[in-house]
């Protein structure tokens, strides 16, 4: 497919998806006919617009995004570093692997009570949760990436005269970079999941808070706005991340690595 055709295709499929969703929703709300439990799309749209006007919606989205960014800014480099070290040095892996396995088997959400206990209902406890989730996710994909660096690549670099340290910097890290990026992408999704959970059990802003607050006021429209906003935010972050990787730094796209 050519580029403009692709864009048209995307727009069309997006529009159709939205239309299908809205139509099903309208039919359901008409049949169900209990607006207090299931308001119609138009009602929800109107409240969303007024929340947008008053700036309330953007504040909630902004708080969630800010938490995500702070947690990731620390979590990504830490996870990438430890993951690379574990993949490259078997001893480091042997030492840390039991902990990684354990961490990986416990859903991050189950650790929320822990972070509340240690850090209280605070901004820091939310950062800590996101940091934990994202760094673990990036760690796993970085480690897998290092392990999949091809032997031929290593041999080629040795044959061109590279020593061990240079090999790590000039071959291993660039070879692993796409894996790290895809770990970041997964991390964004999991991070959104955790931040919402953290906001639901104790926060005064953010999309998770919006949903919880809607529940206590029995304002289903606000809950739906929170849920849809969350889905859109997650989709937007994912798509823009992919776009940036493909177009701004195509060198590091996984697409370059396959199709050989």
């Amino acid at each position: 497919m050519t580029a403009p055709k692709k864009i048209i295709y995307r727009v069309v499929s997006g529009a159709i998806s939205v239309a299908v969703f809205v139509v099903i929703w309208s039919i359901a709300s008409t049949l169900f006919n209990t607006p207090i439990l299931l308001p119609s799309p138009t009602d929800v749209f109107h409240s969303a617009m007024s929340m947008l006007y008053e700036g309330e919606l953007l504040i909630h989205i902004g708080s969630s995004v800010k938490r995500l960014i702070v947690g990731m800014a620390v979590g990504v480099p830490v996870g990438a570093l430890i993951g690379c070290a574990m993949g490259w040095f078997p001893t480091v892996n042997a030492l840390l692997d039991p902990y990684v396995r354990m961490a990986n088997s416990i859903p991050a959400i189950a650790l929320i009570p822990f972070s509340l206990l240690w850090f209280g209902v605070s901004e820091f406890s939310r950062y800590a949760l996101i940091f934990y989730t994202v760094s673990l996710c990036v760690l796993l994909s970085a480690r897998a990436g290092v392990r999949s660096v091809s032997e031929i690549q290593i041999k080629a670099a040795q044959s061109l005269g590279l020593g061990e340290k240079e090999m790590f910097v000039r071959v291993v890290i660039p070879a692993v970079f796409p894996s790290i990026l895809s770990g970041v992408r997964t991390g964004i999704g999991l991070g959104v999941m955790v931040i919402v959970a953290a906001e639901m059990v104790g926060a005064s802003d953010g999309l998770g808070y919006l949903i919880m607050e809607g529940r206590s006021h029995f304002a289903v429209d606000r809950m739906i706005i929170g849920i849809l906003g969350l889905g859109l935010l997650s989709l937007f972050l994912d798509r823009s991340f992919t776009y940036i990787v493909e177009h701004v730094m195509p060198r590091w796209s996984t697409k370059r690595r396959v199709g050989n």
Partner: protein
């Protein structure tokens, strides 16, 4: 022009751990500037021999010497060109950057380095593709890039392990011709591993035949004064049959 080094493989045997002896009693001298092909049935230990010369693995007994100096590990004086071109090139670097990869340590001046890279890419006819990524190249172009990345290092020996084995016949033919031209121009030693007898006779002036393993040894050291230009040349079929026979008889024993 630099003085290339001679390669001496002195009584080398190789076994991996406690496994069977793969290579036994390999004793060859390859003087500078020769174009040598190593032929042998698959699994005989051709790649192992290449790995030994490259320094990726160490001989169990015997020595590998470059002008009296023992080979202890891989290095840019013996650049290897691999058959697996998809993995051998660095996918995050363009063609020019791949060729520049090893040169960074040798030529500090950026402009001079760039000039050398472009010259070399000209030799392998890739001048029009310098800024492409490996994923945008055909197999033949990838192998040209690999060759450029090797010769730009000015190695004593270019070690090629079945480099054209995964290419189609026409591309292979072109690359064979171009490789010979490059060799005639530069003059360093090329050790070219192949299992294609015809290819060996058409590009090299010395063919070493490895018997089937284990305990593979050199069963034939065929030297020709002139390369055959074409399979229809006088003597080609005779040479072909002679080498074929020595491979066949090594299979029976």
């Amino acid at each position: 022009m630099a003085e290339w080094k001679n390669l001496v493989i002195k009584d080398v045997t190789k076994r991996f751990d406690s496994g069977p002896c793969i290579l036994s009693g390999i004793d060859i001298r390859i003087s500078r500037g020769s174009f040598v092909c190593v032929l042998g049935p698959s699994g005989s230990g051709k790649s192992t021999l290449a790995d030994l010369i490259a320094g990726f693995v160490k001989p169990s007994t015997g020595d590998i010497l470059l002008d009296h100096e023992k080979v202890t590990g891989p290095g840019p004086d013996r650049v290897v060109i691999f058959q697996d071109f998809s993995n051998a090139l660095f996918p995050w670097l363009t063609v020019a950057e791949n060729v520049e990869f090893g040169l960074k340590k040798i030529i500090g001046d950026k402009a001079a380095r760039r000039r050398k890279v472009l010259d070399t890419l000209g030799m392998v006819k890739l001048s029009d593709h310098i800024d492409k990524f490996p994923s945008e190249l055909s197999g033949g172009m990838k192998q040209r890039t690999q060759i450029a990345r090797g010769i730009v290092m000015n190695p004593d020996i270019l070690l090629m392990d079945e480099p054209f084995g995964a290419l189609d016949a026409i591309t292979r033919r072109h690359l064979q011709d171009e490789l010979v031209k490059i060799w005639e121009e530069l003059g360093q030693t090329i050790i070219f591993i192949t299992h294609d007898i015809g290819e060996a006779l058409l590009i090299s002036n010395r063919v070493l035949v490895l018997s089937s393993g284990p305990n593979a040894e050199i069963v034939e050291d065929f030297k020709q004064e002139h390369r055959f230009e074409d399979p229809s040349d006088k003597g080609f079929s005779a040479a072909y049959r002679r080498i074929e026979n020595s491979i066949e008889s090594s299979l029976k024993t």
